[in-house]
Symmetry: C2
DNA sequence: TTGTACGCGTTATCAG
DNA sequence: CTGATAACGCGTACAA
């Protein structure tokens, strides 16, 4: 048995590439990481050997020696199944991949405790950066990321005291702008349907924006015109039914989430309620389907993909050595006016 | 400067935990990985030290020494933004997390070449397992996974010769069953709208299933009744408009993707076409919104979450030492009959 | 431009 | 049940 101790014919190591290329392992390492620091002859031989052996570098070893260059980043979103976060993730991975950085992904299920334990688990792999959608954290999270000493980007809301880097938009300003818009369209009795404020900072901020706009316009705040409910088509439908029963009549409903607005629109279609004549509907986040209804839905466009892209860019600046406190980035939002209002 | 060489007060190492707990590093390692192999006194002291130092183990070092236990798996889906894949990912991460395994994620953009280069990048991190949605690969992929020597699970289609493990359903059988169902409902001129077959094995199989059903029922195959188009609401709308212009009249349309069926339904609503009276509509994959229309859409339920869960389970069996060729798992499908047909 | 020696943090092995 | 020692595969520092 001419077995060289290695059980199966597995992955080649750098040493074997070196042997085949007739150079030292160090030259292989250099040829792979900074090709301009070796002679073209060495480069050629190394590349040939790499190809022939199907060599796949071992980043575990590399990362051990040179932490902060593991070429692995981590991201945590509240839910994997929400298309909003998916768009941000796409922007993130697209931008990171250009630099050879891969992404570890997990979901917190909207729980701060789950976020903390997930971060701890991720840090065990020594990622070179961390992206968190949430902006509200346990004390443990602050300690973990401080000790980790890696760039952290938050993306969910334009907060005042971020952990580190911040790329987002103002949930408050967006909700306020949409409510202002409805007021500008002469709607007076405007209802609000959003996610449960106590569970979620973003939901809280949106509700606050709605109220600020009403107050600024001199309109009263009525308990019966604010509904908190988990986001789903069904709950959007239930909310519109409930609101249509309120007297005096509700003129417009701002759904702080397109999933709710769409559910409501479907319900209106089913019941034959005319939008916007009987009730106007506004959404939040411009899902593709919102513009495809017979009466397309007025909504807010948030540049989700761009948030991911710019989060990556910010992280990369840190990895490239920039040390100072980089200023937060506000990607803004845009009201998309359609027939539903 | 009392600096002990370490620049900042960063992550504690196992050695420091050992020092504080007054045991050897080896005992710390054991206490963490197999608590029942150390005395309860040692265990207690180690746990205390870990807590006090906020120790986060370094899996890079662990993985270097003990490959195949990096506690990191990798998954590649065609697109991050498709909710179908998101459901599978959720099942996957939920199941893996119970075993402390985290997930690296990327998208191939429906390209086999992109899949190959992504796999190579992922393998550099020495994942202990790999999940691929696609079932059609470049030769390079076969070589890479063979050399990697890790479990690989494919999830996109019930193929005959999987790379290794397989958890999926038969796209062919599902499409055939739906077409059979439509035939059973006495529709005769049945059209098919699906993704572009040349780009995607799953699309190909669904189209094949449709044809097989028609042929078995003695119905003719007509060119004009098959449309291939990228999946989107808009393309679903265009397809139904095109098909409504065909003479003699099309009686039912099977959209091999709910996004297409929903786009078509929205278009019918807009134009006032009655479903199923003027044309019946069937979909594929039971998106939540499909059941919320005034006329809810008949569709196919694929247990996407379960696919992820079982893919994880299969991978774990391998990691737990099972060697043989584990048989493919067929999770099946279910026709959900609603008013649209 | 290239090579040598050593160390990164952990675990397998084996002796106590 | 515990500890000493030697890898794991690569990168830094320095020497040639």
């Amino acid at each position: 048995m001419p077995n060289k101790k290695r059980p199966a014919a597995l992955q080649a190591r750098m040493k074997e590439v070196a042997l085949r290329a007739k150079v030292s392992a160090m030259s292989v390492s250099r040829a792979l990481r900074s090709p301009d620091q070796v002679s073209s002859e060495t480069l050629r031989r190394v590349q040939k050997a790499v190809r022939e052996l199907g060599y796949v570098p071992n980043r575990l070893a590399g990362g051990l020696k040179a932490p902060s260059r593991t070429q692995l980043a981590a991201a945590i979103v509240p839910s994997l199944q929400n298309s909003l976060f998916a768009a941000t993730l796409q922007g993130l991975t697209d931008a990171l991949r250009k630099r050879g950085i891969n992404l570890m992904l997990g979901d917190s299920g909207y729980s701060r405790e789950a976020e903390e334990s997930l971060i701890a688990a991720f840090l065990a792999h020594r990622p070179c950066g961390l992206v968190l959608h949430d902006t509200s954290h346990t004390p443990g999270v602050r300690r973990l990321v401080r000790n980790a000493g890696i760039p952290v980007v938050e993306t969910g809301n334009l907060v005042n005291r971020p952990l580190d880097l911040l790329v987002s938009y103002s949930n408050f300003a967006a909700a306020r702008a949409m409510t202002d818009y409805l007021v500008g369209r002469s709607y007076r009795r405007i209802a609000f349907v959003g996610q449960i404020a106590s569970l979620n900072e973003r939901a809280r901020e949106r509700q606050r924006g709605y109220r600020a706009a009403l107050t600024a316009a001199g309109l009263p705040l009525e308990e019966a015109l604010t509904i908190e409910t988990p986001g789903s088509f069904e709950n959007g439908a239930k909310a519109i039914v409930q609101l249509m029963g309120v007297r005096p009549k509700v003129e417009a409903v701002f759904f702080a989430g397109d999933v709710l607005a769409i559910g409501a629109m479907l319900e209106c279609n089913r019941r034959g309620w005319e939008v916007p004549k009987q009730v106007a509907i506004a959404g939040f986040d411009d899902w593709e389907i919102s513009r495809r209804f017979a009466i397309p839905i007025t909504t807010l466009d948030i540049p989700r993909y761009q948030i991911g892209e710019r989060a990556a860019a910010l992280m990369l600046r840190r990895l490239d050595g920039e040390r100072g406190k980089l200023p937060p980035i506000d990607v803004g939002f845009r009201i998309i006016e359609r027939a539903s209002t």
